[in-house]
Structures are given as structure tokens and as C-alpha cells.
Symmetry: D2
Amino acid sequence: MTASAAPDFLQALLDVEVALAVAEAEVGVIPASCVLDIRAAARAELYDGAALAGEAARDGNVVIPLVRKLTEAVGARNIESARYVHRGATSQDIMDTALVLQLRAAGKTVEASLTRAMTGAAALAREHVLTPMPGRTWLQHASPTTFGLKAAGWLDMLGRCRGRLQDAVDRAQVVQLGGASGTLASLGDAGPAVAEALARELALRVPSMPWHTHRDRIAEVAAAFGIACGALGKVGRDLALRAQSEVAEALADEGGGSSSMPHKQNPVRAVTAVAAAIRAPGLVATILAAMPQEHERAAGGWQAEWQPLADLMSLTRDAAEAIAGTLGHLRVDPAAMRRHLESRGGVAMAESLATALLGHLSRSEAMTLVERLCRAAEREGRPLRQVAAEDPVVSRQLSPADLDRALAPEHFLGAAGTFVDRVLQQWAM
Amino acid sequence: MTASAAPDFLQALLDVEVALAVAEAEVGVIPASCVLDIRAAARAELYDGAALAGEAARDGNVVIPLVRKLTEAVGARNIESARYVHRGATSQDIMDTALVLQLRAAGKTVEASLTRAMTGAAALAREHVLTPMPGRTWLQHASPTTFGLKAAGWLDMLGRCRGRLQDAVDRAQVVQLGGASGTLASLGDAGPAVAEALARELALRVPSMPWHTHRDRIAEVAAAFGIACGALGKVGRDLALRAQSEVAEALADEGGGSSSMPHKQNPVRAVTAVAAAIRAPGLVATILAAMPQEHERAAGGWQAEWQPLADLMSLTRDAAEAIAGTLGHLRVDPAAMRRHLESRGGVAMAESLATALLGHLSRSEAMTLVERLCRAAEREGRPLRQVAAEDPVVSRQLSPADLDRALAPEHFLGAAGTFVDRVLQQWAM
Amino acid sequence: MTASAAPDFLQALLDVEVALAVAEAEVGVIPASCVLDIRAAARAELYDGAALAGEAARDGNVVIPLVRKLTEAVGARNIESARYVHRGATSQDIMDTALVLQLRAAGKTVEASLTRAMTGAAALAREHVLTPMPGRTWLQHASPTTFGLKAAGWLDMLGRCRGRLQDAVDRAQVVQLGGASGTLASLGDAGPAVAEALARELALRVPSMPWHTHRDRIAEVAAAFGIACGALGKVGRDLALRAQSEVAEALADEGGGSSSMPHKQNPVRAVTAVAAAIRAPGLVATILAAMPQEHERAAGGWQAEWQPLADLMSLTRDAAEAIAGTLGHLRVDPAAMRRHLESRGGVAMAESLATALLGHLSRSEAMTLVERLCRAAEREGRPLRQVAAEDPVVSRQLSPADLDRALAPEHFLGAAGTFVDRVLQQWAM
Amino acid sequence: MTASAAPDFLQALLDVEVALAVAEAEVGVIPASCVLDIRAAARAELYDGAALAGEAARDGNVVIPLVRKLTEAVGARNIESARYVHRGATSQDIMDTALVLQLRAAGKTVEASLTRAMTGAAALAREHVLTPMPGRTWLQHASPTTFGLKAAGWLDMLGRCRGRLQDAVDRAQVVQLGGASGTLASLGDAGPAVAEALARELALRVPSMPWHTHRDRIAEVAAAFGIACGALGKVGRDLALRAQSEVAEALADEGGGSSSMPHKQNPVRAVTAVAAAIRAPGLVATILAAMPQEHERAAGGWQAEWQPLADLMSLTRDAAEAIAGTLGHLRVDPAAMRRHLESRGGVAMAESLATALLGHLSRSEAMTLVERLCRAAEREGRPLRQVAAEDPVVSRQLSPADLDRALAPEHFLGAAGTFVDRVLQQWAM
């Protein structure tokens, strides 16, 4: 079933119809007596979603048949009340306002998951602030970093995504009420007052004017969801790479068995986030592509929004929940990290060695010398420490203690600790 | 030539190298004497962009060969100064910081064009606040609206896009300086101080930590550019539709001739914006798809960002400029709008007539009756006024004056004027 | 519910499990006696899709819990038979093979709708082969064309899309059977024979090797669906533009009412196709973005394919059905077309007039002269015929009869008839 | 500079103008004498691309100003010949035909690179047909595969991509010649003959009718380029993952140094392909999104195609070249592969052990037992061989020799050899 006839969306649509009746009764556009009848009939379980989806395909959207059925249901209670259903509204008013309510709810759920993920990342950042591990650039060992800095990077990024999503959702908390052409003409002079009351009823704001074909706020929310998926995908990919059999520096406790291989523990949650990050861009692109909507009501663009927006909300929800789950249950293996730093002769310390030689040597001399030593260490399968100690230039410049220090990861962590502290402070975690 | 070796980007890269030298001299990491030599060599016209693009393909990015050439050029002036080029930085530090500078410049240009477009829209909104025209939904005549409300819709939307772009660009005004693994280790204890000085020099902010593989800010800016393109495309599509030979309600004065048809005046500017809105979603999607970047430096994702970001900046610039140009020179034809309202028997007033009959009739009775009258009017090619006047139900409920009023567009404009005023006030225009 | 747990997909998965058992019994890998038990348990209605979707989220895909439940259900019939469920297969074998079956079914449905759409277009092309109407470029009147040529263009394009989809689906009719790592090792020497038998059972082909992470065939089918959507969207947009109140040259008989405006007949079907064309690109992009799948089984890419492929199938099905429905019931109004050709002084004939003057005048002289005449006609609201007749240069070169001929659309249709004939012949329609 | 004013595209445009003149002279539409003058002026280096790009922004496309300049240049040679430039064509005729020529050239280049990549993959497949290595699913060790099978998978996929691209390019080898509205009216009766001659001159086919707004063939080519990028990205990602410091099973000899870390050898070529696979989906999506082009000439869609098509051609060219270069120079390390199979206690052989126990045990009993053994082996850091030998159930069922065999990767390679042979035969390599 398409998103626009899913039970929770039907209920959101009905909630808006009820709120509209409340607002119009308050302003005096319709009699107060009909509100109860409308409210009583406005329960999604009374309607057949599949049938509505079918009629929606012919009518152009789901609100048209839903209002028909709602009017019948209200009429069955009280024929007089049926006259006041959906008064002055166009179907897009109802759908867009319901969408805005859904975005608010989804935003809250994602926010909570992101907060849990941030808490998990913060704990890792604090615990491993100075746990050295190989940095990795281009998927290859680079100079060392710390696992805490890595977790702080996730925390900082997820924190920004949370704020961005809150802001975007908040900016989109505007009621849609414009009627057929966006002028509210059929409500006579009462239009703006009804809009005010409707917004109040739903805890939304009143926009300067209806926005049926001005979709930038919706696009901004879509982008904020999509960016969150991308960020969660970055965390997921880092975790999946870290969980590789050859790396195994941090593993999630989770199911992820195989139907044929009894030894497997697949990083299902991390991969859920990666998959979300692969799907989100196409969905965001669709919302952007739908923006040039014609005149007062779109001929294709608005209709194209419905499913992708629903997908973006549920994808982001699942991805955030998956990462929150993983970061909270990560078994970290500092010994493996240390082992990797020492692997391949410890060439990951090359920059550190070259830096130690600066001053004695020019930058390019140091780079050339250390590159030669690294190649030798790898070729001969010997530690860089050993190869370097035998080199006359190195031994002339650096004492054995200097060399030890230059090759010790914990002495080449730069501002890692400072950065972690700043991030923890920034998010008050 | 690819974006990453275009002259203006090369200059931005060189500017960052100079600022880095200034910052490091200030902090005392390198001697102040070398700054002048580096600055003197840091002029893009001294370097061969095409050759650099070629080397970049082999080295992985353009900064690696550029630093090589810059070091040579500095060395040619003063061999000692050459030792201090690019100290402590990784190539992505330079590219990302240069990108941030480019985003700032592009943001300013787009902002100026959007402001001009808003001024044009505001003038139209004010002048035509109550100029009636057919609303159009699903590309068909709907109840009337005013041309002023339409222009106000553009103004409001472009205003939001301008603000969103400013915010996103501003949030991305953070320096990138992390060195090889994001710890600034090779600068020893001086790393954070150098980053502070570099940011000051370039009027950027210092982030909590380096963000080499945390691309959410970049993605937000990309989305803001893309959303602006979508909004400009909406204006462009409205204008192109309005300029159709059969509609011709508002035409831009512009070139747009044909190589074969002497009578043509194509809406080139409006179409430029539509084309930008078609291209932008794919570019934004690419930036989002590139977000899950591996560990401390991407293996593909970062590299995929360069060209799409450059394209997004130039597309948005061109589209904003095109719409600014069009909205400032629009010949509006209120008579054509009025003519369209009266065409097809004036059935665009159907909702107004049905509304006038409410109370006397129930909503569904009124809808059914007016639908029948409209079909008759269209079938018989007669005015709805005439057909309605002959109907016994209508004539019983509405006097001829009532009927005239119900069919007069200027009496069914609802809150159009209020909405326009609100929008003009909102943007202080 | 996600696509991967929808009832029809569950049934396809179960069908593959049955076929696998049949194949393995045939080859002698499992006893023939268990097939009946497996078949009896392989009915989708026996399983709870929602529950499976929930477990799939934890296990990584829906086949893992489904095989668990299937094994239980088979075991409930015959404990011995339960040992032979899913033998030698990996879950992706089942999902990919089921996908291939679904693509075949969807391809057939779309093919039938496209054929109906082509039949409709062919009838229009034949009937209106020489019905003149304004060509329209940049949404403005251009030299005349015929409605038949327009319909032939749709026919030709849809015909190519049908063929492309058939080809792509056919090329993807390959069974997936590789086991855990793509070697079929757990089937010993029997692997290739089982794959042969499975393919035979399902009327699929055997690929050279398993293709778990080689998704180009799937991407090709996705692209073929997406291209069909784009083509259907072109027809839909043409129809929606043609149905505009000011144009009204061809209207579909269909519902499309409004909840507030009784006169409306919205082009719902045409817009359904346009909306599909807006959504399809993002879905195709997702399938392409998912292609770089890791090693022997993806960590994100494969998982990202499921929903977009399901969406592409249903979107294309709906769009093709919508266009088939519209093209079969189009009310064409040749008089409106003629009226538009004569509107605006008939300047759409400008190229024709300029062509008539060639030889007497150079190309650029003729273009300049006719441009001047058109501007005068438009400015003065007079027919181009009249303005041209008064021009001394024109009157010197063209007799009144020549001028009439130069301005008669039916004499400036070029090869329209030839093109229509060719297209009808090409598709034997 | 935009793609549409790049020197090679300008030359393609000029080539089409010359071919048009040749064709029209052949048919007798223009005098043969002018062809030489047109040809002499049709050299891209005579025109200022940047200036043309500027005028194109105003005129709507680059052909309009180019024809203007070309006409002047021809006129400077012979004023009479200038009258016959561009006769009967519309600017899109020239651009689309030039595009078709560019697609042919790009297709050939990519084809050659893909062939080189296939040759490299074939050599690896042949040499390593039975070199065991861990299969990897979800980025974790799975049952063994062989490096040859992996290479065969690349070969098979790249072979299909080559064929798909050739087919798509070939199907798009149709001339575009329709004139202003697609009827060729300004050529009188000679239109089809001119189109025939033009196609002959350029070695293209004549389509049934012009295809200005029927872009499915172009979309198919775009998709074929995009799918090739995706496939190349899969190879690239596999190689980048394999080149990780912890894996290092196959390394490319290439540059890829770092500006700060002397030990680095980044997999630049593999990453080039991954980056292309990230960018291609958005570009293909744009071409699809541009498909619903209005009437006889687009108002945005066609204009949106130019740059993405150019980008797709160059991206695919670079990615194919990069992978061809890498696969031809891969240092493979079978010992590392063997070492990884033995790592983690050799649990990658779990499925093999469970399979050996089948018959004695039911499938689920075997799976449960082996899972327990694997967890013990990993927890205790002992070989699975040892742990299994101590288990009473295992030792009852399997002799020490049976157990050795069950844990020997070379005895659990299934049909790997068969698959490799089939693929090599399929591509005659």
C-alpha cells in the first residue's frame, strides 16, 4: 500500500479534518454542534485503506475519497453535521498539514535515537580519548589517531545533524490552509481567522500565505533527513570496516547470523545505516526535482513527494535506531589497535619520524629519507625502528631515545585530547 | 578542465597556503621571513592548470602537485623559505578551506541576485495585489487568484531560500586544519594555535575538531544551493507557462531568437532556471551519496564532491541571475488575465457560485448543481452566467445582482490582499 | 510493510525454495520424498509478513527468518523433510532469483500496457496524420506540425521503450545460485547440475557464474523501467499541457474532480505519468549507487536495492496503465488547433514566409524582414497576411496566391506524412 | 567553460554543419560550390569558445551564435556561400547530431579501456583459478573462494558492460534532422533525401522521424555509461579494500604518495573508479529527469542534458582507464590470502565442517554444533581444528583425516574452477 493510505497517515489526515472543524466552529463558520460528530467519525480504523488507495488513483489524491467517506460516516450520525465537513479546504490543505504533523513526530523519534547514539559515542570518546590506533586515509594506515577522537567525530557530526533536523522540522511547522486557489475565498472574510485557529489547535504556526506550490520548507526537511542518513552511514561504514575479520578493532554484539555459515556475526545494524545512506540521496533528489510545481497546484511534482517523504522518515528512523543500538554495545579492542600500529614494521609512524628529523633536514630531504627507510622495512619485513637505527643520517640526528620517542604512537597524537574535550564540552556530554 | 584546477580555485588554494604561512609565522612555527616569498609565489597565473589537472589524476588531488610547484617557485626566490611551505597541513586541509572560501563568495553572489529577484517580485506583488487572474491547478483554471499573490509567493519563497543559503554557508565557515590524521600531530603542541590564527586570517571559525570525513556541513550547503535552484525553477516554470502563446499574460523582454523562425522570442532566462532545477537534484544527491567517507580520509567520497559542488555554485548563480533579470523586466497584461477568467463561459467561478448557494443548499447539493451548470455552459458554448440564471434553483436563491456578484472575480479573492501585505511586510519590501 | 515482505514477494521466495528442492531431488542431492512436504508448506498465506519484516531487520534479510519458519512448517509435516529445506543455498540466492521472477512478471504487465498505449497512439497518428496544429518549441508557437506526427512520436518512443524493457528483462533472466561464497561448495560436485535443474524448473538461464555482487543486469533492468517512466512522463506532460484551459486541443475523458471546485476535470492519468517520471530517476540512481558491492556479498548496496526495485516496477506499471487509458479515450479538437494556428496574427507561419522569400532574398535578409513583419502584426493586432501584403519587398516577390500559400499551414507540413507512415510501418500498426 | 562550448564539441558541431552542406549539395538543395567555403571556415580553432559560451547563455544554445559566426566566416571567403550555411536545420539538429558523434567516439575509447581491463582480469583469473582466499560477505570472512573466481567475476561483468555500451551507442547512432518543428518543412520535398545523405556522410542511420523531444535513446546511452561506472566502481572498491594495510592481498604499483606521510602508497586508480561510481548515478538521474520534454522542443530538459552527458563520457573514460591500468599491474600475494584463511583459528571453514557433518547430523544440529566450536576457538584463541578434534560428536563422525580435509580450503572450492573456465570461454580470453 502506498504511504498516502497507510493507517497512520490516514489518522493524521482525519486529525486535521477534526481540527479544521474545531477551528471553524470557534470562528463561527460552522455550528459547534457538528464537531463531536466529525470527531467521532474521524478514526482511521473505520476506513478501508486499500479501497481508498484505489480511489485515490482515480481522483488524484487520497483526501478526495476520504472526505467522501468521512462525510458519509458523519452523515450517518447526523445528516446536518455532514454539511460542515472539510469546509473551505482543498484536499492539499489537509494532506500538507498532516504531512507537517508527521514530520514533527518523525523528527522527535529520530532526535531521541540520535541522542542515544550521541550518548554512546560520548562514552567511547571519553573512555578512549588517548587510546592510540592507526589513522586510516584512503583505507591505508596513516599517522596514529585515537579511538576517542574517532568517536568524538561521530558525536560532533550526529549532534549537528540532530540540530539541523530540529531546525528544519521546526521551520516547517506551518499550517497549510489556502482553499482551492490559495486565497481562502470560499471562507469569505473568515479565512485568516480560521487559519489562526487551526494552527493553534495543532500547535503549528501560520505562514504569511499558503504554500501549496512553494515546497522549499519541505525540501529542507527532506534534506535534513537525508543528511542525517549520510552521517549515520558514515558511522555505519566506519563500524563495518572496523568489524572486518582482519581488523576487528570494535565489534557490535548483535545477531547477524548466516543461513549457511555457522561462524558468522554480520554487522547488521551498521549495514542498515549504510544502506539508508545509499537510498536517501535518491529520495532527497526526488523531492528537489519535484520543486518546480506549476502555478497554484502541481501537475506531478506534489504527487511525486508523498512516498519519498514517507520513505525518508522511516529510513532515517531505522538508521538512527540501528546506530544508537550499535554504539551502545561496542566491544572495543585496544590491543588490536596497538597491534595494527606495530604491523608492517610500524611504518604508520613515518610522518612522526620525518617530523623528528625536520630542522636537521629540510622537509623534502626528511620525506625522501623516511620514504626510503619505509620501503626497506616493508621489503625486508623488518621494523622501521631497526632499519632507521642503522641509517647513518638518522643515527647522527636522533639518539636511540629520540628514535624511540619518534616511533611511539602515544607521543604523536597532537591535539587529539584537546579536540575530544572540546567536542564533549560542545555537546555537554 | 575539471573544477579543481580552474584558475579561481587554484587561487583560493594558494590563498590558503599563504594564510597558513602567515598563521604559522604568527605562532612562531615558521620564520616570519618566509611569508613574503610564499605570498609572492602564490599567484594562480604562475601555474599551468591543465598540467596540474594531469598530475592530480595521478597523485590523487591537485594540491599535491600544486604544493610541489609552489615549493619550487618559493625556492627559486629563497631556498630557505621553501622549507616552510604547507607545513603541518595535509592536502585536504587546503582544499577544504579553499572550498569554504569559495562557498562564501558564491553565497554572496547568489544572495545579491536573489535580493534583486525579490525586489522585482515585490514590485509586481504591490502593483498587482488585486489584479485578478485565473488560479491554475493541475494546469487547469481554478478559482481566481491575483497576480500580486502569485508574485508574493515567489518573493516569500525566494526570501526563505536566501536566508537558508546564508545560514548554511555561515555554518560552514569553519577552517579545516587537521594534518595527516586529523590530530595536527606534526605541529607538536602548536596545532590548535595555528588553527586559530589561520581561521582569523581568513575570517573563518575554528571547529571543535577537524572534519575531513564529516561532511554534513558541506551537504547542508549543497542542499541549500539545490533548494534555491528548485525554487528558482518554480518561478521559471511559472513564467515559461505564462509566456505560452495561448496564455501570454506576462512576457519577459529578452533575446531568445530562433535560428530558423523569425517570429520567436523564447523565454531563455526562465528556461535557464528550469534547467538548473532539473540538474541540481542529481548534484545534491551526489554530495549526499558521498557522505559515508571512510575513517580519516575518504576512498572515493571526497573526490566525488569536487565537481558537483562547483557545478551547484555556478548553476545557482546563473539561475538566480536569470530570474532576477526576468522579474525586473516583465510586461504584465492584466487584460489577458481578465480575458482568461471570462473564457470557457467563465466556469472558473464555479466554486464562487457554489459557495454563494451554500446555506440554501448543502455542500454536496451545491457542488452537484454547479457542476451540471458548468458542463452545460461548456457544452453549449454559453456563459455560465446565462446558464445559471435560467436554472430554477439558482434563480430562486440568488437575485441577478447576487449572481453577478458571485461570478465577479474581484469579489472572490478572499484573503489575497492580506496575504500579499503580510509577505511584503515580512521581507520589509 | 517493506517490499521485501509483501505477500507477492514472499510467494516468489517460497516458489524458489520449492524449485530448489525439485532441482536437488532431480539431481539426487536430496530425497524426492521431501519435495511434496516443502511444496505444501510454501504458501505465503501461512506466514506473517509483518513479523517476518521485523525479524528481517535483525537478521539482515527476510529469507533468514522465512527459511526458519518454512523449516518449522515442513518439519511439522515430516521431520525428515525439514532437513532438506534451502540446502546449499545462501539467502541471497533465493532473494535474487525471486527478484528475477518478479521482474519478468512486471515486465509482461508493463509490456501489455505499453502495447495498448501504442495502439492508441497509432490510431491517433493515422487519423490525424495531416491535421495541422502549431508546433511548440520553448512552449511557444513554432512552425506547424500535425497531431498525427505528435502521436507518431509517442508511438515510436513507447515502442522503443517496450523493446528495451523486454531485452533488459530477458538478459536478466538468469538464476542466482552460488551458496555462501559463490562457489556452491556445500553441494560438492553437484552444484552446477543443481543450478541447471533449478533454472530449467523456473524457465531461467544459467549464468557463467553467480552474480551476487555483480549487479549490472539488475541496473540495466532498473534503467529500462526508469526510461519507460521518463517516456511515459513525456506523453503525460504533453497531454497535461494540451489539456490546459487555454489550449484544450485534446482532452481525456476521466474523473479528476476537485473537492472544492465543481467545474474541474483534472488530467489525473497524465499527471500520474508525470509524477512517475519525477520519481523514477531517484530510484534508478539508487540502484546505480548501490552497484559497488563489496567482495562476495554487499555491506549495504544489495540491501538498498530492494525497495527501489519494487517501487520502479509498480510506478512503471501504473504510469503505463495511465497513459494506455488516456490515449485510448482522447477527445481531439482539430478546430482548436486550427484556431491556435491563426491566433496572434498567424505568426507561427513566419518560417514558411521566410522560406518562400529565400532565393529572392538571402537567408538573413528574409529572416530580418519577416521578423519585422511579425513584430508589427503582433503590435498592431493585425494578421501577418495583411501586414505582409502591404510590405513592398514581399509584394514584389510574392503574388497574393503565393502569399496565401506561404501562410497556409497545410502547405508547410514538410515530411510529416512520410514520418507518420514510416513509424506506423516500423511498428506494424 | 561549459561542455557545450569545449573545443572538441565545437568541432563536432562544425563537422555536422559541413556534412549538412555536403548532403544538401548532393541533393541539389544548395550549390556544390559553397561546400568548400563552408568546410574551410569550419575549424574550431577559428572561434572563441568563451565568447560563444557567453552568447549561448543569452541565445539559448551555442549553435545560434556559432552559426552566426560561421556564416560571417564563410561570407568573408565568399558572400554567396554564406547564404547556404545551416539551411533547413534547427540548432538542436546540429547539437544532437554532434552529440551522437561524440557518444560514438567516447564509446570507442571506453570500449578499448574495458577490453584492456578484461584482458588484465582474464590473466588474473587464469593464473589464480585455484588460489584460495577467504570469501568475504558483509565484509567478514566467509567460506573460501579463489582469487581467480573473483577476477572472473570482474571480467564477466565488465564484458557485459562493454557489450551493453556498444549496443546502446549503436542504437543511438541516428541522425537528427527535423528543422524548426520536426517536419523539415523548410526543405520542401527534399527533407528526407537530405536526411539520408547527411546520415550517409556521417555514417549514421536515419530514424523513422526526428526525435528532438524523444530522448529515450540518449537516456539508454547515459544509463549504459552509468552502469559501466558502477561496475568499475565495484572493481575499484574490491581493490581498495584488498589494498588495506591489514589485508594487502593485492596491490597496484602506482604513485599515490601523500603530501605529509612518506610511507604512503594510496590506491589512487581504484579510488578514481569508486569516485566515478559515486558521481555517475546523479548524472544518469539528471538525464532521466530531463526526459519529459515539452511538445516539439524542451523548455529546460534538453538544456539540462548537455553537461551531464559530457561528464558521464569523461568520468567513464577515466574510470575505465584507471581500472585497466590497475588490473594490468597487480601484485598478488597468495601467501597473504592463505594467512587470512588461517587467521582467527580458521573459522572461515565453518560451513565446510558443518557440511562434512551433514548426514550424520541434521542441518540445524550441524550448524549449532559448529557455531559453538567457532565461538570457543575465537574465545580461546585456538585453531578450530584443535577445538573440533576435542569435541566428542565431531570425533565420532570424522576421522582426523576427514577433519583435515573438511578444514582444507582447497577441498572446499566447489565449482570455482568450472565457473572461471566458463567465463574465460564466454569472453574467448
